[in-house]
Every structure is written in C-alpha cells, then in structure tokens.
C-alpha cells in the first residue's frame, strides 16, 4: 500500500504540470491535454482519499469526472478543428478578438 502523502505529492506535481501547460502552451491541443492532466490529478486525489478513508464515494466522483472529461475533450477538439478551419492556426494567442 503506497502511503497517502506520496500520492498527494505526486497528484500536486501532476496538477502543477497541468497548470503550467494551460498557462504556457500556445497550441490549443496541448492546452486541452494540460486540462486533462489537471483533471486526472484531481481524480488521483479523490481515489487516494477514498482508499485511505474506506469510502467509495470518492471513487464514484472520479468516475463522473472521467465521463465529464471525455465530453469536454470531445467538445474542445471540435472547437479546435473549427478554429483551425477558420484561421489555419491553433495558436491560442492569436484568438484574441474578444477584447477592448
């Protein structure tokens, strides 16, 4: 049985990687993937606490999150495809029409 703090630290590192990806990457697909990292870091936390506390509700939440993440990726990739068709680019820095 791996000890809970180790898992939490690992999840935190994974979440931080996700945050970095969301904030720093220009490629929209990479941003979506970074979001997946953050979601999975949270899932990891949920499962870890569930195992540690002997409570299945955490694992149930993790399943929900996975389902929502799948839907989110589906929509996100569709947006990226449309963006690419219109702009021939998926650089998020160039998508700044909604400003002053």
């Amino acid at each position: 049985m791996i000890r809970l703090p180790l898992i939490l630290v690992f999840a935190a590192l994974l979440f931080s990687c996700g945050v970095y990806g969301v904030l720093a990457r220009r490629n929209a697909v990479m941003v979506l993937m970074a979001i997946e990292l953050m979601l999975n870091a949270v899932n990891l936390n949920l499962v870890a606490f569930s195992a540690s506390l002997k409570d299945v509700s955490g694992q149930t939440f993790a399943l929900f999150v996975i389902a929502v993440a799948a839907a989110e990726v589906g929509i996100g990739l569709a947006l990226v495809i449309l963006l690419f068709r219109n702009r021939a680019s998926i650089n998020v820095d160039e998508v700044d029409l909604l400003k002053w």
């Binding site: 945050v19 969301v22 904030l23 720093a24 941003v31 998020v92 820095d93 998508v95 700044d96 029409l97 909604l98 400003k99 002053w100």
Partner: protein, 667 residues
C-alpha cells in the same frame, strides 16, 4: 331667547304708569331685522329676482311700517315704555345687551324712518331705473335704513354706536354711488371724514357716560339715572359736550356742516333719505336720547348748543338763498332746519317736544321736496334752476306736491312746518328772546329762498334744453303720499288735535301748550313776507339774466356767499392741504430714501450674493461633478486595458486569485 328685562315706565320720574306695551312694541326688535334680511336677500338673490331687487326692501319696509304704526298706536293709547334684550358681551365688569327700547320718541322716529324710507324705495324704482348698480343700490338702501332703525331702537350707547357707524359707511357708499366721477367720490370721502371728526368726541362722550354710570353698563336709562345723582358736574358737562360733538358731525351743524351740501353728489333718493329720515336726524335724535345728560350738565352746554344752532340756522338759510343747484338749496335748507331742532333742544325740557315735532314734520316735507326736486332733475336732466322755469304746466303733480312741501318749509299757515315752527316760537318766547329773534329771521330767510326756488323752477319761461315731461307714477305716487303726510303730520301738533304729539314725545311731564294768536301771527307774517320778497325778486316778470339778488346785494357779498363764507376753502387750504402736503412730502421722502433704499439695498445684496453663489456653482460644484466624471473616465480607460482577449492571461488571474485566497484562508 328674547326676554323682557325690565319695564322702566315707573322710573321715568313721576310719570304715571301706563298700560302694558302691545305686541308690536315688545317685538320692535324685528323692525331693523326685516331691513337687514331684505338687504341680504337683495344682495344674494336681487339680480335673479324680477325687477332686479327692490321687491325685498319694499316688502320689508311695508311690514316694518306696520310695526312702527303699531308701536305708535301703543304709545298713543298710553302704553308704558317697552324694552328688552339679550346679553351681547361682557368685558370685565362692563356688560352690553343687544335689545330695543320703545318710547314715544322712538315710536315716532320709527314711523318717520320706515315711512320715508318706504317712499324713497318706491320712488327709486323710477328714478334709478336702468342704473348699472341698481341692485347694489337697493342693498345699501336697506342697510342704511336698518342702521338708522338700530340707532332709533338702541337701548344702550354701544348698540347706538353700531348703527351710527354702519350709517356712516352706507352714506359713504350712497353718496359715492356714481363714483366714476371724481366729484362724487371726493364728496363721499368728505362726508365720511367730516362726520368721523365728530365721531371721535362722540366715542369719548360714550366713555364718559359709561364712567358716570359706574363703568358697568352703557344702558341709556341707567346713564340717565346715574347722571341725576352724579355730583361730578364737570364730568357730566364734558360728556354732554363730547356727545354733542357727534351731533355736530352727523347732523351737519357748524363747523362740521361742510359735508352735507356736497353730499348732493349722491342720487336724489339718497339725498331724500339722508336729509329726511336717516343720518342727519340721528344727530338730533342722539341729543334727545341723551337729554338727561344735557339737562343735568352745566347750563353752559345748552347755551353752546343753542349758539351753534343759531349760527347754523341763519348762516345756512342765507347760503340757501344764493344757490343755483336746486338740491343745494334744499341741502342748506336742511342744515338750517336741523339747526332749528338743535336750537329747540337747547331750550331745555320745554323745547324738547317742539324740537322733535319739527323733526317729525320736517322729515315728511323735506323728503317730499327732495323727491320732487329729483322729479324735476329727472325731467330736465340738470340740477340747476337756471335750466328750469315754467314747469308748473308740464309737471302738474310735481308742482302741486312741491308747492305743499315748500309752503310747509316756509311755514305757511296751517301747513306742516308752520305748526312745528310755531311751537318753537312759543317756547322761545318765554325766556329765550334771542333765539326767538333768530327763529323769526331764519323763518323769513327760509320763506324767501323757498319762494325763490318755487318761482325759478315753476314760473317764468322754460330755459332748459331737454323736453320736460311728468315723471312716471311710481315717482309721483310717493310725492302725493308724502304731501298728504306733510299736511297730516302738521296737524298732529295743532290745537285741532289738542297737541297730541306732545303727549307722545316729551321729556319729564308733558308740556301744556296754548295757541298764541300773536305769535302765530308773527310767524305767519314772516313766512308770507319771505314769500312776498321772493316774488318781488324772482317773480315771473323779472329779468333773470343776472340773479336779482346779486344786483341787490352787490358783488362783494354775493361772492362771499357763493364761496360759502370761505369756510370750505379755509378747511381745504388751511387744514387739509397743509396736513396733506406735509404728510405727502414726508411720505415721498420716506418712499424715496427709506423704502427705495431698502428695496435697492436688497437688490444689491441679492446681486452680490448671487454672484458668489454663481462662482461657487461654476467652480466648486461643477468641478466636483465634472471631476467625478473625468476620474471615472480615466479609471475606466486604464482598467479596460486589463481585458486583453487572451484567455490564458485570464487563467493566470484566476489561478493567482486562487493562490491569494488560499494564502488568506490557510494563513
């Protein structure tokens, strides 16, 4: 609640107690109320009533006249005095009732006032026909009559004062009825102010009487009793003189006589009412009402009263001889005849009945003469006798009635004024020789100007421009009635009726009269002589290019008389103008320097203040408002730069916020 408070017949000094007063006498307080009610009805409904209003006043006066006759019948059948009233108000220990007091004097006055006023009301239907303030005229006429009736019936001096002053206001309104012309409005003001000068001593006279009566009542009977036992002769004398001041003003005696001739500016029915029944009679009536005070005062008071009466009597009669305006002739005649009454009263108890008998007869024949003069004026559209002449054939009814009135005024044997003048002469012949002479001389002058008036208007050639015609029957009717009343009234004080008037109106014990053939002869001689002189000067054969009297007297005397002895000029130039000019100069100075200064100063302060306020508005408030706007704009301009459109920057903010919150919460 009207209760009989006390019946004072026994207290009147040895007078035998009569029978109880009849119903009319105990309800005499209704008489003025009828006229007040008719006045209110005229004012409220007058214009919507067929005939535009006189119906109320006439109906009220018919009822009032019936009441008055009822009262006189009561007195004539030996009734005691009727009095009563309700509590009106109390100031400290001083209480005043509102009530009525009917004795012989009041009863005869009631008949005179209601009778003459009724005739005037009827007459004015014709005379005032088409006047633009017709309804208003009738309203004031009703009020005027009501006020005089209040004076007549007043049981105390305060109620008398109320009627007295209301009458002053009404006379002002009526004299100035045609106020569009300046002459009329200034005559109204003159009448009002001149009588008011007399009212001031009158007020103080009332106060003096109240003090004499112990400060608790103004009841005339109580004052009379108090005066009888008062030892303060000075106070009583002062009270009598002050009260007589009111008479001088109201009855237009010298030196306050100036308003009455000018009061001719009013419509002629008003003149008739003022001269015959109301207003001027009130002054004489006041002396009669307060006679106890005059009798108990120092004898010098009655001497003063007699002197003023004598001066006015002859002075006014002489002025009446030179007037061209027929109404002015009659006005001066009224002055003179009122002075007869005043002088008659000055002879003390013995002259009392004679003086009021003269007032009684005078009311009818003077009312008749004024209404007749109005009929003439109505016909020739001019007041001037130089525009009349030869009217006896064109206006026969007016001529006959005015002839009766004139003969009564002149003292022609057996008609009207002859009897009252005879009584005055008889009274004066015992101990008042100088008044006897004055009466005779004035009677001569009276007959002269009466003759002059008759001959100038009804005889000789017609000199006017209008087409004269007899007046309508609504005007000649009252003339005929008054002519009959004149003749009948005269006989009430004659040996044929055993001097019944003296039984009704007397002071103390009834006077015993004897017919003096010699005195009646002298009086008749004066009357006939005056008329004959009038014929001599103004008979139809005379050339009237220049007034014959002017040729007889010479221009100097004539001018003095035309200027009314310069008394009016003296009042105007010597009293009115200096006061008025200095007052108006002071007012102008005050206006220009003080009031204008205040106004201008206020304006300057306002301008300065508004400048400051404007500066504050522009610089402080506007800057604050604009500054707020500018600050918001600048801030917004800076803040919008945050919105870059780059989603990742927003996410940076989001995570930074989460970190900051975490630090804050888990610190």
């Amino acid at each position: 609640m009207v209760a009989l408070v006390h019946i004072l017949a026994q207290e009147a000094g040895g007078e035998a107690a009569g029978t109880a007063p009849n119903w009319f006498m105990t309800h005499a307080f209704l008489i003025p109320l009828f006229c007040v009610a008719s006045g209110v009805l005229t004012l409220v409904f007058g214009k919507r009533t067929p005939g535009k209003g006189p119906v109320y006043g006439i109906a009220a006066l018919v009822i009032a006249f019936v009441f008055a006759i009822g009262c006189l019948v009561g007195i004539a059948s030996g009734s005691s005095v009727a009095t009563g009233g309700i509590h009106w108000f109390t100031i400290g220990g001083f209480s005043v009732d509102a009530g009525y007091y009917v004795d012989g004097l009041a009863a005869t006055m009631l008949v005179v006032v209601t009778g003459v006023s009724l005739m005037v009301h009827l007459y004015a239907i014709g005379y005032m026909h088409g006047d633009k303030r017709y309804t208003w005229f009738y309203f004031v006429l009703s009020l005027f009559t009501a006020a005089m009736l209040v004076v007549v019936l007043a049981p105390n001096l305060f109620e008398l004062l109320v009627g007295w002053e209301v009458m002053g206001v009404c006379s002002y309104l009526l004299i100035g009825h045609w106020y569009e012309e300046h002459v009329n409005s200034s005559a109204a003001i003159k009448a009002f102010i001149t009588t008011r000068i007399g009212d001031v001593p009158f007020m103080f006279g009332i106060f003096a009487c109240i003090i004499i009566a112990g400060g608790t009542t103004s009841n005339i009977q109580a004052i009379g009793t108090a005066v009888g036992v008062s030892h303060d002769t000075v106070l009583v004398t002062a009270a009598a003189l002050l009260l007589f001041g009111g008479t001088i003003g109201k009855s237009a005696q010298f030196p306050l006589h100036v308003w009455l001739p000018d009061a001719m500016a009013g419509p002629t029915p008003v003149s008739a009412l003022i001269h015959a029944a109301t207003m001027v009679a009130a002054g004489v009536y006041l002396v009669g009402r307060m006679f106890e005070v005059f009798v108990q005062a120092d004898p010098v008071v009655l001497t003063i009263v007699g002197t003023i009466g004598a001066i006015t009597m002859l002075g006014a009669a002489i002025l009446a001889m030179v007037q061209n305006d027929i109404k002015r002739v009659l006005a001066y005649s009224t002055l003179s005849q009122l002075a007869y009454m005043v002088a008659g009263l000055s002879m003390g108890e013995t002259g009392y009945s004679a003086a009021f008998f003269h007032l009684f007869t005078h009311a009818f024949f003077k009312g008749l003469l004024f209404l007749g003069a109005g009929s003439l004026i109505h016909a020739v559209h001019s007041n001037n006798m130089s525009d009349m002449g030869g009217l006896r054939r064109k206006m026969p009814i007016t001529f006959i009635t005015m002839l009766i009135g004139s003969l009564a005024l002149a003292g022609f044997p057996l008609i009207g004024g002859f009897w009252s003048k005879d009584e005055l002469l008889v009274t004066a012949s015992t101990g008042h020789m100088w008044l006897f002479v004055m009466f005779l001389v004035t009677a001569l002058a009276t007959a002269f100007y009466t003759g002059r008036m008759l001959f100038l208007t009804f005889y000789g050639p017609y000199k006017g421009h209008a087409e004269p015609h007899e007046s309508p029957s609504v005007m000649t009717g009252p003339l005929v009635i008054l002519a009959i009343a004149t003749v009948v009234a005269g006989f009430l004080g004659s040996p044929f009726t055993s001097y019944v008037f003296a039984d009704w109106v007397h002071f103390g014990t009834p006077e015993v009269h004897h017919f003096h053939g010699a005195i009646a002869g002298i009086g008749s001689l004066a009357a006939l002589g005056g008329l004959a002189l009038g014929w001599l000067f103004y008979g139809p054969k005379r050339d009237r290019e220049v007034d014959p009297l002017q040729r007889g007297l010479g221009n100097g005397v004539w001018n003095v008389l035309q200027h009314r002895y310069y008394i009016d000029s003296f009042y105007f130039n010597g009293i009115v103008r200096p006061i008025r000019d200095s007052v108006s100069a002071g007012v102008v100075w005050f206006n220009q320097n003080v009031l204008d200064g205040v106004v201008n100063g206020a304006a300057v302060v306002a301008r300065g203040g508004s400048g400051v306020i404007m500066w504050i508005d522009r610089n402080v408030i506007d800057n604050a408002v604009n500054g707020a706007g500018t600050a918001m704009e600048t801030f917004g301009k800076g803040l919008r730069l945050v919105q870059t459109g780059k989603v990742q920057w927003y996410a940076v903010g989001l995570f930074a916020g989460v970190i900051a919150l975490s630090l804050f919460i888990f610190r």
